[in-house]
Symmetry: C3
Subunit: 204 residues, 3 copies
């Protein structure tokens, strides 16, 4: 029960984060209010929708919980009215995008484990759940997808996934595995962007 | 039975409209005949395919009705031979795209209702069913997706969806709800493009 | 049993081919190692994933066979270390992409037939299975999708699909239908690119 509440909290957090990230990117591209809403919606539900379609858990998550749709409409409306007060837009977008990345990657891995899938496949599923919302947002807005950015992105999800399994093996860290993975993904992503960290590309 | 026939008519109409719209866009991009066929096919079945995958109604619609595939092959072939007689290409493309938008949005909402989903979720499903064919057409042809156009697009679907629910509550308008919603979406979209109507963007 | 082994061989071959093709394209775009892995993974499993989601055969194929994920990780790692020895990169990319196209198209048609679908729908399914990996690779890397290239692409899948059904009707060619279709698709695609073959576009 305690975990269930935490799981719902993660889902709400990830949805709000990606909705804000989608709304900000869409407002930046001067879409009209409904266009902003559609992009925010697709960004927020994209990862979980892909995850559920891959697993065959249909109707997909957002269709069974109308609260998600209401939450996205509410969040997007607030984002539209508060946008002028959001000064450092690029940092805010990065922050929400990275937080959503951490939350959704962790949810994806946990759901894969609940289906009894192989660890490597759970990490792949988590990475796709985390990355897909941002990818579809950027494809819709005709931007170069985030996955193509110079800084760590998918890498952070894969490393976070490995960490998650590592933490799950330590008994007293087990209940904190989710939270710590999210903190790890968020911090590494922010540090990577701040200091322009990148992995070596020996093949070039 | 009467409604069933109407529903089939909507499906055929939407398929033909989006197939023509996909074929015209692909010919404009100078794809070869099979390429035109593939783009026309994906544009025509894209929305319904996404809808069925989200609902878990598989194999998806076009796989269960081979008539749809034949209809698309026939429509696309006709479009390829008649293209030189289609003078005002831009308007024709707009007309078919808008008609398909109205038809598929309405089908999507009706199918969501048949699954007993929440009204807000049905409208989201209808909007995605209506918009996705055009989005995938534009992504394949490396165009800026229609959803990003200045004029009303997704907005019209959402407004149409609200109208549909409103009409459904009026007993004597109930059977006409579908047709009126399609006419509404088609007209508003054409008027919006003609007079360059757009919603206010207060956040800019 | 003999056919089953052949089927597994096709699947392994297509996965390796598309993983290499995705890895080469991603390295060309200077993605970091994990980015290369993600693009290789999505390119390799994209077609089969779409096929299984359309049919409702979930969890999709790669989730039920962890060997596929291991194979992709291994192939991509080798490709990253051997890249400097791969001199004629453009031809290698073309070769692996065309081989994967042939293998996956044939698998897609065979799976559609196993579901008892109409021949025309099996060919459409095979074409989508074959083309989707390359399309998603190019969309992720912000390239013009392969389907839009001047040379034959989707056309080869459709012609290959028709050939497959033709061969299936000849008793003594029946067991060789798959292999011959793959050879046909690979050869026609390579010849088309080499001699810049293209279908006539009478509508221009």
């Amino acid at each position: 029960m305690w975990f269930d509440n935490l799981s719902v909290l993660f889902d709400v957090g990830g949805t709000v984060s990606f909705a804000v990230s989608g709304a900000l990117a869409a407002m930046n591209k001067r879409l009209d209010p409904f266009g902003v809403l559609v992009v925010a919606f697709v960004t927020a539900v994209g990862g979980g929708t892909l995850r559920d379609m891959l697993l065959g858990d249909t109707p997909v998550s957002w269709m069974r919980h109308e609260g998600i749709t209401l939450l996205i409409v509410f969040t997007t409306t607030v984002a539209m009215f508060l946008k002028r007060y959001v000064e450092r837009l690029r940092f805010t977008l990065l922050l929400f995008d990275s937080l959503g990345l951490g939350l959704f990657t962790t949810i994806g891995i946990a759901k894969g484990m609940a289906y009894g899938l192989h660890p490597g496949i759970c990490i792949a599923l988590g990475t796709m759940t985390g990355c897909f919302g941002g990818v579809i947002r950027d494809v819709l807005l005709n931007e170069v997808p985030v996955i193509f950015h110079k800084e760590l992105y998918a890498s952070v999800c894969i490393m976070g996934g490995l960490l998650y399994y590592l933490l799950k093996t330590v008994p007293w860290l087990n209940p904190l595995a989710g939270v710590l993975t999210i903190v790890f993904i968020l911090s590494v992503r922010l540090i990577a962007v701040r200091y322009k960290l990148a992995l070596p590309k020996w093949y070039m």
